[in-house]
Each structure stands twice: as C-alpha cells, then as structure tokens.
Symmetry: C2
Subunit: 253 residues, 2 copies
DNA sequence: ATATTTATCGTCATATTGACAATAAATCGG
DNA sequence: CCGATTTATTGTCAATATGACGATAAATAT
C-alpha cells in the first residue's frame, strides 16, 4: 500500500516527523447493584484475540478526540449519544503498547448510569459490563496496556468524586441520597456513614436540588428524590469546578 | 514523497485508519520574584512566524511521550535533564488546530524552579520566561491553540497545589515556608495568611521535613529550611497521592 | 540603639467531620 | 391488622480544621 503525504510539513522540528496511528479507548464505568463495572469487548482479531479489551478504535481523518470516543462507544454498544459524562483521561504510547507497531491511544473516561449494550452477533465484538474487581483480581485479563489504563481511570474517578458533582453522572436524572452514596461506596470501595453522607450531600450549596418527589415501593422509608443543582450541571466538557468545597474526602485508608 | 505503510494494520476499526503527526508541547511554569512565569519560544517559521508559542515538537518514531517532552525541553532551553515535575496535561486536536492540517498534540505540564534558558543565536528559536499574566491579559498572543492549553495548564497547576505536595516542585531542594507560600500565592493569584499557611504546611504529616538549617542574610528573622518529606517525594511519574489531607483549598473567590 | 522586617507561636470563634442516638415512615411476615 | 424490620432523615456531641488576628522572636536597616 502506498500513501502520498504532503511534503512541506515540518513545523518546528528538524528530524522527519513521524506519523502515528491514533486510537481512542473508552473506560466506561457504571454502578449496578452496588458494584462498579467496566465496559469491555471481546477481541475477535489478533493480537490478543479472544482477550477482553477496552472499547475503542481509530481516530478518523478530520475527527476530534471526543467525537471519536463517542463514535466508538456508539459503534460498539449501540447506545445513542453520550450516555453520561465523558472526559479525556490521558494518552499512552506510542512506544511499546502494540506488538504490531507504535500506536498512540488517547484514553477517555465515561461515567454513566447503566445502559444496555447491544448483544452483538457472533461475528461482532461483544461488549458487556464486567465487575472492575474481577479485572483487578487478575480473574479477567485485558489486552495491551488496558489494565494500566483502567487503573488510571479508577484513580481519576475516585478523585473526581471527592470534589466534583460527577458522582451523580452514575445516576439518572433523579436519584436518592442513598443511590448517590452507593456510587461513592462502589467507586471508593469503602462504606460511608449514611447520616454523615446525607448531611454533606444535602448541606453543600449548589450541589443537589430537591425535586419534591419521593421514591415508592422500595423497602423502608421512602426517600426524597434529588437532581443536580443548576450550578453543578455543566455543559459537556466544561471545567466542572469544585462544587464540593471543602471536598468530600475518601476515608484515610 | 512516498511512504510505504505496513498493510495488515487495522486492529478494530473498519475505515482506513488515518495516521497523524503527533507533537508534544510543554507548559513550563516557574515562580520568580513572586510572579508566575511560563516558558515561551518565538516562532521562526510560518504559520505564526514571530508569534510566541509553547516549546514543543514532533514525537519521533520509537519515542515515548514523556521522553519526547523532555527532549524538546532540552533542545529548546539547553537544560540538562528534567528540571522539575513533568506530567501529562492532555491531548488536543487533531482537528482544526494547525492551518496546515490535522496535528495531534499532547500537552505536558512542567513545574520547576527557575532555570536558565539558553540564549539562542538569531537563527534559533529564542526561549524565555514570560509572566503568565501578560498572556492572560492579551498583552502577549500565542500561536495555535496554545493559550487554551496554557489556561488548562494553569487550572491543573492550581488544583494540584490544593491536595498534592507539588508546590514544592517550584522550589529547590530546600526552601522556607515563606518561599512555598509565595509559590501558592503566585499560582493561585491570591494572598494567603502567613500564619495559617505556616500552620497547615508544618502541621500536615508527611509533607515537610525540617532540615535543621536556617536562612541567613535575608531581611527579617531567619527562616527554617525545609525539604519534602520522604512520603511526599515520589518517583517521577508516580500517582502523587493526596498528601495534603484535608486539602489546602484556594480561598473561595 | 531603635525601627523595621519577616518568621513563628498562640488564641479564639466558627465550620466541618466522625461517631453514633433517636425518630420517621415505609414494607415484610405472619 | 400488628409488630418486626428496613431504610431515611434529623440530631447531638466531641474532635479537628479553618479563618482572623494578637504577640513575640530574631534578624537587618537606619
């Protein structure tokens, strides 16, 4: 295969600028049944055929990173639009991550409520939610450097919950304090005192807004339904300034 | 120009994978005379010839991102080794950032004590420290999307100071509490109460370590010299866990 | 020698956290 | 239908941390 490359393209550097294949990978996290789960696909081709991997794929010419990440997510799950909070995590490579050659990947982090994934036919890569703990245990093994990326994503997610309202990205539009607390507990891997959590969540100005409605049908006393306050909602890709101030810190190990 | 590309290279995606030129850019920050400064070079070629820009350049084949960032820094300033804390900031593009075509850039953040930059001859790109405020004012204009990258870098730096010991990356190995406070004030753009800052800095376990030595010659009472405690020092590229817990938050605007 | 400067220690009211008691309001099991 | 159980929510109280600021210590500057 032969490709023509425009020649007059050496902005600032003297050695021949290399071109790299660029992929986006998405670490999609969700919480279901109090368990933190990650979206993984089963690879159908070498290398790492049959192995689990993060959903992702090549960035196309003229495409932006966030666009590519959203597109890959849609392609591999059938979900329409971005189902939660998507942010860039970081870039990995290009050296030594793919046995076939240098590939740069830009990892993204998606925090979303559980969404159904397309059950693909046998000739498509099957995507499904897996408990994060099974990957960290070594029970499940990931392709490439995807475990390292997952670990970084988890640390990012844990830290985001401390000072940002993004815990709510795991919930639907309306949620109870207990549901939000379950998210914190699943992501941090610790139990939190329901009363103190309630106090902090409801007592932080600009964080939550009472909808006035209550849950019904569940065991126990009905819970009030909240939504994110206007100040905490944010146009996609905005700074997400520290709404939780002072932050809600993870217990000190 | 014609380049041969290995053909069997389509891991997960169906459309032809594009290859992109990849650059690294470095937002190098330092504090001198209580002023936050950023390292900028003057471009010698189009586009944006004569305009100020972040130091950076192409990632070479077989090179890692952090390596490339360090190499570019060395090439443009003459500094030997990485003079402070270098971390990845984020990736930008590839669409619409360079008039010549799609270029992906991976921005990095360097927090370092002031270091001298090579005074280049007239035919090399001249690197120098500029007050960040002059860029934000619009007094200085940057090439490409470099101002946006700088803004993101500043937010990252501000936030890092809150919970990590990285403020000390701006100081030398040994420093006084007042010097550290000057870093916080310059980065955050606020004044801090010297007594409360002293209490927090010296009272946080695992943050600072008294060297036993004192400053001499300066005006006023001599100050004790501190260094980062072992727990706060970290192998380059490590997580930098929250040493400041609870964090030292910026004043609420 | 005294004024000035900077560092450091101390005080005190207020805010926040962590641990936990008590009450409210539903479902559950007979 | 009723008490047991479950979950939500409101409080209480001591320990900790913060913000505002007084006071003292130890240099240099005049």
């Amino acid at each position: 295969m032969t490709i023509n490359i425009y020649d007059g393209f050496m902005p600032e550097s003297h050695p021949a600028p290399a071109r790299f294949p660029v992929t986006v990978d998405v670490v999609a996290l969700t919480v279901t049944d109090d368990v933190l789960k990650v979206l993984l696909i089963t690879r159908l081709i070498e290398p790492f055929r049959g192995r689990l991997a993060l959903p992702g794929g090549f960035v196309l010419a003229g495409e932006d990173l966030a666009t590519a990440a959203g597109r890959e997510l849609t392609e591999e799950t059938g979900v329409v639009g971005v189902p939660g909070h998507l942010e860039q995590l970081g870039s990995y490579g290009p050296k030594g991550r793919d046995p076939r050659g240098d590939v740069l990947t830009v990892a993204h982090l998606l925090l979303a409520p559980n969404f159904p994934v397309l059950s693909a036919g046998s000739d498509a890569e099957h995507a499904a939610w897996y408990p994060v703990s099974q990957v960290l245990d070594g029970e499940l093994q990931l392709a490439f450097d995807h475990e390292r990326i997952l670990v970084d994503a988890l640390e990012r997610a844990k830290s985001k919950l401390e000072y940002s309202p993004l815990g709510a990205a795991f919930c639907g539009d309306e949620f109870t304090i207990a549901q939000l607390r379950a998210v914190y507990e699943a992501v941090w891997g610790t139990r939190l005192d329901p009363r103190n959590f309630h106090r902090k969540a409801t007592g932080t100005p600009g964080f939550l807004e009472d909808t006035g409605r209550m849950t019904t049908g569940d065991a126990g006393r009905p819970a009030a339904l909240f939504r994110l306050a206007e100040a905490a909602r944010q146009a996609a890709g905005q700074p997400v300034r520290a709404v939780l101030n002072p932050p809600l810190m993870r217990p000190r190990a």
